[in-house]
Symmetry: C2
Subunit: 462 residues, 2 copies
């Protein structure tokens, strides 16, 4: 049981009694995290009442932990009390404010922007100027910058004075007069150095910086490679414009993985937790892809219709249709997911397509060979036990086996190459989802199967 679960009834009781003095006293002991959990658990208007009772600093900290829907509800409830809203907005950290603004309709964002202090507005407008999903949207301007000509003692005094708002004190940044980034220094280096040493002497001028206009996926990869707590962000001229902290990057990594998994499963990304997505939007996001896939899959009915005569003459051919096309779909799914994930984490890039193709042709042959062999054995055993397939069982078995080799090869190849095609076209590779690959392979798989059957069986079964 969490604190907010235990005490929720008591809080509700106090709100009902309008005993705000006791309530304020009780809440002053809570952490922002706990307060956020409590406010999320309360029914309106209790949530707004409790939030209003919080002292200014605590209100801003708590707000940052709230879910977006609760943030939006509070902002609209506070719209009547301009001063409180102004204070709240000004107290938020820049990255949290940016993500709140992103969720609001344009005119509301504009109105809120006007409430900010000139300095905060400048920061907010700058952050909002970067494209969505860019590193610029992820960064905060709350960091400490120091100068190379200072002593360690001067730097530490500066940190003590201006570090209050900084998101991390593990790292500070050395900049020149024009705010060009010269180096990053871990605060531990300052703590361990002689107070009289010059900052310039501690510098090695080696640092990793992110570009504000780059995609947030780049930030994830850089943080994974460099094991840092925070990385500085520069513009195209090398001027320090902000920092990104690793805790925000962890959220991005998890969101990107969720998005990819949703797409791989053949629906649009939900953009919200499953249980919180309204049913209508849940159905909508799934229906769109399902209908597209269904329309594609209709081609199987046409393809089969094309071979209707063969099926009428040898119904036995129809029996293996699901087995053969699903094997193509399964091997294609495997290949597509392996390649899409490898691309997402930066292990495979566009220029690797040829290496991947060679590997996948070999894998496809091997996998198709295994399944083909099993398929042939299946036909032989059933023939021996039940005489299911008549005098030409060996030819039927061979048709099934060869079709499996061909379909699995084709599935593997198209599953592995589609993500490259997607990326080349500028589309997210995860869009070539497993159902998408399966549908593509189903139609061609049927053509492969019936063509092999026509070649091998005409004159006997057909």
């Amino acid at each position: 049981m969490t604190l907010e679960q235990v005490l929720k009834p008591d809080i509700e009781e106090l709100v009902a009694q309008r005993d705000f003095a006791t309530l304020r006293q009780v809440l002053s002991d809570w952490t922002p995290q706990e307060l956020a959990d409590l406010i999320e658990a309360l029914e309106p208007p209790d949530d707004v009442i409790v939030f209003r009772l919080l002292p200014r600093d605590l209100a801003a900290d708590t707000f940052e932990y709230l879910a977006t829907e609760n943030q939006l509800a509070l902002v609209s409830a506070l719209a009547q009390e301009k001063e409180r809203l102004v204070n709240l907005l000004n107290d938020l950290s820049p990255d949290d404010r940016t993500s709140l603004f992103e969720e609001l309709p344009g005119p509301v964002t504009q109105r809120l922007l006007n409430m900010l202090s000139p300095e905060e507005r400048r920061v907010a407008v700058m952050l909002l100027g970067y494209p969505e999903d860019s590193i610029g949207r992820l960064m905060t301007t709350d960091y400490v910058a120091i100068r190379p000509e200072w002593t360690v003692q001067q730097a530490l005094d500066h940190i003590r004075k201006h570090g209050k708002d900084s998101e991390t004190l593990d790292v500070v940044y050395v900049v020149d007069r024009s705010w060009h980034l010269l180096d990053d220094l871990r605060v531990r280096e300052l703590l361990l150095a002689e107070p009289t040493a010059l900052i310039a002497d501690l510098m090695d001028e080696r640092f990793v910086a992110l570009r504000a206009s780059d995609d947030q996926e780049v930030a994830v990869a850089e943080f994974q490679e460099h094991d840092r707590v925070a990385l500085p962000v520069t513009d195209s001229k090398g001027v320090l414009v902000g920092i990104v902290t690793v805790d925000d990057v962890l959220d991005v990594a998890q969101e990107e993985a969720t998005e990819d998994i949703h797409k791989l499963g053949g629906s649009e990304a939900l953009d919200a937790p499953y249980l919180e997505t309204p049913l209508l939007s849940l159905v909508g996001k799934r229906a769109r892809w399902l209908v597209v896939l269904f329309l594609g899959e209709m081609l199987t009915a046409s393809a089969m219709g094309h071979f209707e005569g063969e099926i009428a003459r040898a119904v036995v051919l129809a029996l293996f249709v699901p087995l053969i096309i699903s094997s193509g779909g399964n091997s294609g799914s495997q290949a597509a997911t392996l390649i899409i994930r490898a691309m997402a984490v930066g292990e495979v890039s566009l220029r690797d397509w040829w290496r991947v193709m060679r590997r996948e042709v070999a894998s496809g042959l091997a996998l198709g060979g295994v399944l083909g062999l099993i398929g042939f054995i299946r036909v032989s055993v059933w023939q021996a036990m039940f005489g299911t397939y008549g005098p030409h069982w060996a030819l039927i078995g061979l048709t099934v086996a060869l079709s499996l080799v061909g379909v699995v090869m084709w599935g593997t190849l198209s599953g592995s190459m589609l993500p490259f095609v997607m990326r080349r076209l500028g589309v997210d590779p995860a869009t070539s989802s497993t159902p998408f690959v399966a549908t593509l392979v189903d139609v061609t798989g049927l053509v492969i199967y019936f063509s092999i059957a026509a070649a091998l069986l005409s004159g006997t079964v057909l």
Copy 2:
């Protein structure tokens, strides 16, 4: 071009000339990250030669950035030079040493353990005592602990003296005499406080701690919720045993997502980057599941065999088989991936199964209705244009439409419930991969389709 790509030919030249003095001088300018990239790029035995030239501290830092295969190669190459190996092992940070030991065969680990200093061996054995994938394996013992009765100045002096090995200096931990964790304090709080203040007065005794025996997925969720740089790890009695830093957690989150995506795609997790996985192991990890799925899918041939008479009488029924079963597979894939990811990130737990089921029954009905309607329109249009389906086209259309509703409902329901069954059985929910769900739905989908056909069409088409 990275530094190591530019200079690799020069380095190889220097190695060939045995000009180790120049080489040592050149390399002293490089960062551990750059050195690791260089060593990974060099052919043996150049990589070992370059590594041997590094000064002791730099060697340990560089080693931590190397890929596991390069680490293993260096350890076996250095086995002849016991002293160097001893120094290297003692200089590694505990979490990196643990993950190296994990990769080695048991007897080798034992031999290397014996090379450690008694203190380091105690730490290594303790870390290795935790189950694989537990938080205990992820933690490091390099942190700074302070006492509540100290002043801020005493604490800062202690950090300056003992903080050299600490993985983060953003946070220090307050412990009592028996090393019970009392609180965590951000170093910024110390920097911003009066030097004469007591640590006890800065404490709020509110902290989040991880349990060493918990799964690493718990650490990912806790870091996501609390936005921290590092979290302390305690044993079952609340004694501080180590800390986990967020950069390691980011790696875990990415690995877990990759594993889930591989499983969702219907292969075993590769455990290594795609291009670095040997072809044989790549094929093996995919073949196992592909064969299992193939054996399952064989039931479709039996199911279709059961309805062979119906197909012979109405070949038209066979034409819609791929369309109908793939719609079930696709809707099942969607449901399974949404639920599996929601479980992985902790949005959905076992006790939510009933809520999920109600949502999925509703979604399945809606999605099935949409596809059924499109299916019926397809039959009507083809009938109007080509007269494909004869006098009983409306009944055939109805059979297709109703089968689609049933199959999509069934696909959605089994796709969403299978992950719950898996988790209940203690199996990773991601094992109910999209191909697995599709196979399951294919077989039952055929039965649903032909049963509806038998009911609706007997006496007319059948």
